[in-house]
């Protein structure tokens, strides 16, 4: 029984890793006080999603999960006839785009952070809120 669970767990360890990374990322994004750390958290979150997507490309592993009804775009044959494992390239392409988007987001965020630091001299959110309150509108 336990073995079966272990087996199931390790067979899809990449998905579990993605889940863990995603949660670490979300936690950091929401809970951290430092604006820069929030950005780091966001990047970790995005990385987790990329990992998840790329893992989807592994058709074989999906079929053992029982959700592999996906129509892979290149090869039309069902799994029995195919008789071999292959990796679906489409998620990789998507994630290339995703990485570009993530990089762009990070760029904008970093630019903003520089401006914020120039304006307030700090990146701690609570300090910035205090400073804003002192300055008024």
């Amino acid at each position: 029984m336990i073995e079966a669970i272990f087996e199931k767990f390790f067979q899809h360890y990449n998905f579990w890793a993605a889940v863990v990374i995603i949660f670490i990322g979300i936690y950091a994004t929401i809970a951290k006080n430092n604006l820069f750390k929030k950005l780091l958290g966001l990047n970790i979150f995005q990385t987790g999603i990329f990992l998840f997507f790329i893992s989807l490309g592994d058709i074989g592993s999906l079929e053992t999960l029982g959700i592999g009804d996906a129509t892979p775009p290149i090869i039309w044959k069902p799994a029995e006839e195919r008789g071999y494992l292959y990796v679906n390239p489409l998620p990789h392409v998507l994630i290339l785009t995703g990485i570009v988007v993530a990089a762009a987001t990070t760029c904008v965020a970093l630019a903003l952070l520089i401006r914020i630091h120039k304006e307030y001299g700090t990146l701690e959110e609570d300090e910035i809120i205090e400073l804003e309150a002192i300055r008024g509108d």
Binding site: L42, F45, F52, F53, I67, L94, V101, A109, L112, R115
Partner: protein
Amino acid sequence: MINTVVEQFPALIVTTGVFSAFTILILGLLSRKICYYIVLIVTAFHFILSIFTLQHVLTKGRIHYWFGGWRPPWGIEYVVDELNAYSLIVILFLGLLGIIFAKRSVEKEIEERKLPTFYTVMQLLISGCCGVVVTGDVFNLFVLAEVASLSTYALIAIAGGKALRASYNYLILGSIAICFYLLGIGFLYAVTGTLNMIDMRIILQNLYENKMVHVGFVLVLVGLGIKAAVFPLHTWQPDAYTYAPSAVTLIMSTVVAKTFVYALIRLIFSVFTVNFLELYINAWNLVPWLMGVAIIVASILAYRQNNIKRMLAYSSIVNVAYIVLGISFFNSQWSLSGALVNILNHAVAKGCAFAAVGAIVYKTGIKDVGALAGLANKMPYTSGALLISMLTLIGIPPSAGFVTKFYLAIGCLEMQNYLMLAIILLGTLLTLAYFLRVIEQLYFREGNSTQKEEVPFSMLAPTMFLAILCLAIGIFWLTGIPLEFLKKSITSMGVIFR
């Protein structure tokens, strides 16, 4: 011949838009003045194209455009039906007016050397939004939504000061939102193996019981919900609207907000379909109640605001809640019509309100409701426009806002939901309560000067035009001519009435 040309228009709007953005950036090195005119001309051109597109859709049916000739589900497909074409026109029209308004307003609020970049980003924003609206591919939607969102972050931050933190908050929340959306798409892709909306819809039909689909649905819903500022996911929105430059607030509240509302409707109805919602009707029935709470809470929050832009921002949350309320009663044709109608109505009314407020800020620098006293004597036309837009948002007949309320009321009754009807009507009264504060200040209190000082024509014209439209559109809906169109749009969303 002409038909095949029109079929290129959706793709043309997006590609030329993005192309012109970079043209502006380069030409901006030579002349800073030319940037504005390029954006203006390109957007006006796009607006004309979008009218042809709608006309084509209405007469010849849906447009399918395959990028690079790749057949879906492999290639990226742009699909335009009634709903897209309608949203496209709303977005481009308000974008156009926003750009006309922006010129003088931006000259005052932003340093001159930043103008080329400002207009570059503005053009990217509008193209991104158009892209979101015309695309028929869920992943492409993600990319274009990011184009639009990143532009928005930059545009908000251009104001400097408090806008920086507002923009950063929006960036973090917006990115989380888009990541949720992406994750949701991942789940859906895992079970369907396709990214094309129409294809996904067909494959999903047999998978409604699948847990992956449920997770995907919730993630997509939450992601787009944050972007569209659906209560209670709206927390970024009041700050962003308040501190952004006036022209940017105008564009955000109309173009960007409506884009994501469209995306929400498209994903819910065209990818997941009504059948899926019906399967989980008990869970889905929570949505109208949540929106009921949203209408009341956001109205009360609006009442407590002193900053007039912030007040209008909360009013936007109320209106988005009206739209989501409308789509949550998917069994009623009138309820859905109310939602669709409010996309245009709210865009026009809120655009007018923000334009008028922008004009007031431009001329007097006033941002607080309490300081507006006697402004009706000083700026009669702007005040008049603000008054009309507020009456529209309250929903006084025969303005556009009344039509929304009217359709939604019938929708609630068709669903036998009397309490929701009461909430909608209560919402009207609360809206009246907070706008009455502004109206009293404008018209019934003495100001210090009665010297007439109107804003430049290029700001006044769009404001007045929108104010007239508030009434004209209301009457247009009331004539009953567009009912056929609304019905078609609802059908194109995949809702078929028994």
